[in-house]
């Protein structure tokens, strides 16, 4: 063994005991966390309710030791953002509690995102498919009327006043009749009980026809599709019968825009190993296709993606580097007046720069799986998330809450929900509990289970942690840098637009 460092550098206490300053301090600390930002002299401090400030190390140590004087330039900011208080604790706690309650307001009302998997049939053969798709003639993989009606009953047992009904597959348009029946079964009672419902569908748009467009327009659907960038890349990632998958999706996008309006359709990009070298080209393809938003999503370790992992998988650090290049390019474009934003950055910035949560259920503490979303599978299984359903398709029912014929209360008190509650509170998870990004982030027990076989898992092995740590560091680098034009652009992305529940599948 090579030698050894010796003693720790100092023998005296590094930080004085708190009691030493009792009675002498001009202020009292309020809860916060901090982290170093790679390459920065300043530390990032984040309060329990998500306010942030950048501070040099000596000032942080002075703050904690009770030595930061009110004349210090940062003192007023620290007081305004409630890192410290000069007044009595009770007033400060009441104000902080109000902010905390707002940030956790997604807890009110229970699951508001209800995903209906109306069929597993799909005619694409994507190598990274997260789902266990079936060939398009196997109708036994369609959701039956009885299952659909029972699922709608469960949806109305959930107390949420604002609901999102999302249709997924397979390719959901291959079972359009079921989409129609569920939409009709939800719309009328929702109106009668004064619940707000938003309908969304995730589709390749290859099977879109005029009847569907009229129906979607009547019910004000929001359409989500997949576009993996330039046609050559999309067609390679998402082979479809007859080829030209990208052209057919873009034709569908055009028809949706004509019928429902330009912003009625959004697209997401699944990043494959091949995509990693082309961030600028992928963003440019979205701009050329008239999108004002792009969502850059890494591959997930489920379904067919597991089988093809050897030739398609990559390290999460490579994704973060890809993302950095893509975001740089988007910001360069935005500075020249091109209106395009990255949807995931928009969600993270909303978490960072506003006191509000977003409707994004995968980044919450307690975890959004089950508490924020329910998935009704074609065969009647009820799952805590789409990832839970994918695990079940791979033979693991750990996160199957039960069957659509069981009552909502029974589903929510299932053993699967107990596992999620035990592992889904990030504030109590090792690593997360100390993380400065905690107020903006959340554990993902199902993803962690899928990756590590354990819903708590180890942060060092967690792709979820690597991805979000990397993305938060990147965004805070921009914020710390303070370039006015960059700040203006990023702030404009941080809006509560995304408070409607969504899965971003």
């Amino acid at each position: 063994m090579q030698l050894a460092d010796t003693q720790a550098p100092e023998r005296r206490p590094i930080f004085e005991e708190a009691s030493k300053f009792e009675g002498a301090r001009p202020y009292r600390l309020l809860p916060f966390r901090f982290t170093r930002l790679p390459g920065s002299e300043r530390l990032l401090l984040v309060s329990e309710v998500g306010e942030h400030i950048f501070l040099p190390r000596p000032e942080l140590e002075a703050l904690v030791a009770g030595r930061l004087g009110p004349e210090h330039p940062a003192f007023l900011d620290l007081e305004a953002k409630q890192f410290l208080t000069k007044t009595d604790d009770s007033a400060a706690v009441r104000l902080l509690a109000a902010k905390y309650r707002t940030r956790k307001s997604f807890l009110r009302g229970g699951p508001s995102l209800h995903i209906f998997v109306v069929t597993l049939r799909c005619d694409h053969s994507c190598a990274y498919c997260q789902v266990s798709r079936q060939i398009s003639t196997k109708h036994e993989f369609d959701m039956s009327d009885a299952v659909a009606r029972a699922a709608v009953d469960r949806l109305f047992e959930a107390p949420a006043p604002v609901l999102t009904v999302e249709f997924q597959g397979g390719e959901p348009l291959l079972n359009f009749e079921r989409i129609k029946s569920i939409t009709d079964d939800v719309s009328e009672p929702a109106a009668a009980t004064r619940r707000s419902v938003r309908f969304t569908i995730v589709s390749t748009l290859h099977h879109l026809d005029e009847e569907m467009l009229r129906f979607f327009k009547h019910h004000n659907f929001h359409i989500s599709t997949s576009l993996d960038g330039p046609a050559w890349l999309h067609d390679r990632n998402r082979p479809a019968p007859g080829g030209a998958a990208a052209a057919r999706t873009l034709e569908g996008v055009r028809r949706v825009r004509d019928a429902l309006g330009h912003e009625a359709v959004a697209a997401l990009t699944t990043i494959t190993r091949e995509s990693l070298a082309h961030p600028e080209a992928i963003v440019d393809a979205y701009v050329e296709s008239g999108f004002s938003s792009i969502f850059l999503r890494p591959m997930s370790p489920y379904g067919f993606a597991v089988r093809s992992a050897r030739r398609t998988a990559y390290r999460m650090n490579d994704f973060v580097e890809f993302y950095r290049r893509a975001l740089d390019h988007i910001l360069r474009l935005a500075r020249t007046g091109v209106a395009i934003q990255e949807a995931y950055a928009s969600i993270l910035l909303t978490h960072i720069l506003t006191p509000f949560p977003t409707g994004y259920v995968d980044l919450r503490s307690p975890a959004g799986a089950g508490l924020g979303a329910l998935v009704y599978n074609y065969e009647g299984g009820v799952y805590a998330s789409d990832e839970a359903r994918m695990l079940a398709e791979m033979g693991d029912d750990t996160f199957r809450l039960g069957d659509v014929r069981q009552r909502y209360a029974e589903l929510m008190s299932s053993p699967a929900m107990a596992v999620l509650m035990n592992a889904g509170v990030a504030e109590s998870l090792p690593g997360c509990a100390d993380c400065a990004f905690l107020p903006f982030c959340g554990g993902d027990p199902i993803h962690t289970y899928g990756q590590q076989g354990d819903p708590v898992g180890h942060r060092a092995k967690s792709d979820h942690c690597r991805r979000h740590t990397g993305l938060f560091q990147l965004l805070f680098d921009y914020l710390a840098d303070g370039d006015p034009e960059t700040l203006r652009i990023l702030t404009s992305w941080a809006t509560p637009w995304s408070q409607a529940p969504m899965s971003l599948q």
Binding site: M1, L3, D5, T6, I14, E17, E48, A98, R108, H458
Partner: protein, 111 residues
């Protein structure tokens, strides 16, 4: 800690050859904080903790065998200092944090 000293008080050998070891005063660096510091670096290094004469001895080995030993040492020392500072913050704010969460969630129960 010298090269011949990577045995625990009980005399059991540690399971790996370590890149370096540091001895920490258990009084200044509580066991919980040392564990947290090691946990935060677990992607890049393996650790073995031992006790010797009231001190905590941290043995460290880089997972990437090409990694710089001095960079790893610096990172560990930074992590130890950071977690000590976090402990000082928690000592002053834990009570408030608990009251805060209890107050916020109690309010959430009301209409």
């Amino acid at each position: 800690v010298g090269e011949d000293e990577h045995c625990s008080e009980s005399g059991q050998s540690t399971p790996l050859d370590w890149d370096f070891s540091i001895r920490l005063s258990a009084e200044l660096y509580p066991h919980d904080r040392v564990l947290r510091a090691c946990y935060s670096m677990a992607e890049r290094a393996s650790f073995w903790l031992d006790k010797q004469e009231g001190n905590i001895v941290v043995h460290c080995r880089a997972k990437d065998r090409g990694a710089s030993r001095s960079a790893l040492q610096n990172e560990l020392l930074d992590a130890l200092i950071d977690h000590s500072l976090r402990q000082a913050i928690e000592a002053q704010t834990t009570g408030i944090r608990e009251v805060l969460v209890r107050t916020a969630l109690a309010e959430a129960r009301s209409p």
